[in-house]
């Protein structure tokens, strides 16, 4: 293993990138530009989609470079990533769809005024 190449420069680059993404997220989270926050797109605001995509980008950066998935054999990497991505997508789809349906029913039955 001692002949392995040092990745120090790459590690600092990835850190700079992850920090930048976090700063952008926090900035948007504090400012909450109305044009992004109040515009709906595919069931939620554009701002939420931006947060979601930036989060996935960060997760990719951590898994690929810090957990060095990129150095693993192709099919080992796929054996790890594909099942998790598939199962989480299925789970997220079902529970969020169900939650939305519950909400539609519940909101009809919730009163916000009293006599």
């Amino acid at each position: 293993m001692s002949h392995a190449k040092s990745h120090t420069a790459l590690i600092w680059k990835v850190f700079a990138f992850l920090s930048l993404v976090t700063i952008v997220e926090v900035f948007l989270g504090i400012v909450k530009p109305a044009s992004l926050n109040l515009t709906q797109l595919l069931g939620t605001s554009i701002l939420n989609w931006i947060f979601l995509i930036l989060t996935l980008v960060k997760a990719y950066g951590i898994a690929w470079y810090f957990m060095h998935l990129k150095d693993e054999k192709t099919w080992f990497r796929r054996a790890i990533v594909w099942p998790v991505v598939f199962l989480i997508s299925v789970l997220a789809f079902f529970v969020l769809y169900e939650g939305d349906a519950l909400g539609i029913i519940l909101q009809e039955w919730t009163s916000w005024s009293y006599n």
Partner: protein, 325 residues
């Protein structure tokens, strides 16, 4: 066959018999499989949170209004502290990966320094989370709960939230704390709220410029609805108790479920951080006494590194779903 069957001649079952499918050792592969199962556990929790979030889309607490504190400084600073925590965790991930890198080159001194920094980063994160919990439990303004569980908060004319103490009357209260000495010996009660419901009601009646804010979110402006005085009095007639702070059974910021999920998910993640720190400390001392120098490789550092990065990875998602979205 030989490549996949554990061969005691080559080093016993715990090393997978020395066979390395995909060029990955037994320990590393099992760490990956553990991480996969743990990732699914966390997605189950976050999925449940998402379900409730969608279910109560029109009345969920707004995170920006809940987590607004910074240690030693008064004022309204949404997100800054949790952003700091995120940086600490990412940075400890960086020092961890630098330790792994140094281990590959058999640089014992560097591994010690970087692992030490990683442990310190983990401790700072855990301390910050403890502080975040303490602040959330203590609460900031106080609220009143209605008989159907809804939470109403009080605002001044400009829509800023008011603490209950700032307007409640100081009418004398008959209510005393339920203790073993004065009540049922098997029942006890934690401290009473600093104001009673009657004092809040009286204070509200005496201050005509105070108004009330309900949990209902106006989806066009993404802000909580402020109701008229007339409507507010109807709400107050249904009030049952004063709520200050948050715990598993009440939450002054809104839905109790928000507090439940917050404590459960950040607590579960915090416990991962805690066990990660313990494992890191064990490996840290192993590095110092030269265990891996003698073994000829620092793969153990790489394996605990995988776990530590995973903890960071989970935090990235917790941060997004609890604080940003």
């Amino acid at each position: 066959m030989e490549a996949i069957v554990a061969d005691p001649q080559k080093g016993g079952a715990w090393s997978g018999g020395g066979s390395q499918p995909f060029g990955s050792s037994y320990g590393k592969m099992m760490m990956w499989f553990f991480i996969m199962s743990d990732a699914l556990t966390f997605s189950g929790f976050l999925g449940a949170y998402g379900l409730m979030r969608f279910k109560f889309l029109d009345s969920w607490p707004i995170a920006d209004e809940v987590f607004t504190h910074i240690p030693f400084i008064h004022g309204d600073f949404p997100m800054y502290y949790v952003a700091f925590m995120t940086f600490v965790l990412i940075f400890s991930s960086v020092t961890m990966v630098l330790a792994v890198d140094a281990g590959k080159h058999m640089q014992k001194g560097k591994v010690i320094v970087y692992m030490g920094l990683t442990i310190i980063g983990g401790l700072i994160f855990l301390g910050s989370q403890a502080w975040e919990w303490k602040t959330f439990i203590a609460g900031s303004y106080g609220a009143v709960q209605l008989e159907d569980g809804k939470i109403v908060q009080f605002v001044d004319a400009s829509g800023h939230q008011l603490t209950l103490e700032s307007f409640a009357s100081n009418a004398p209260s008959e209510r005393v704390q339920h203790k073993k000495e004065n009540g049922l010996w098997f029942v006890s009660e934690s401290g009473l709220p600093s104001v009673t419901l009657e004092q809040v009601k009286e204070g509200f009646a005496n201050n005509p410029d105070i108004s009330m804010r309900t949990e209902l979110i106006n989806l066009d402006t993404k802000e909580k609805t402020i109701v008229s005085r007339e409507e507010a009095n109807k709400f107050l007639n249904k009030a049952t108790r004063v709520v200050q702070g948050a715990n598993l059974t009440e939450n002054e910021y809104g839905k109790t479920l928000f507090a439940d999920f917050f404590f459960f998910i950040t607590g579960f993640h915090g416990f991962h951080v805690f066990s990660g720190i313990l494992i890191n400390i064990i490996i840290f001392f192993n590095v110092i006494i030269g265990t891996y120098e003698r073994r000829g490789h620092y793969e153990m550092v790489e394996k605990v590194g995988l776990y530590w990065h995973f903890v960071d990875l989970v935090w990235v998602f917790v941060f997004t779903f609890f604080y940003l979205i």
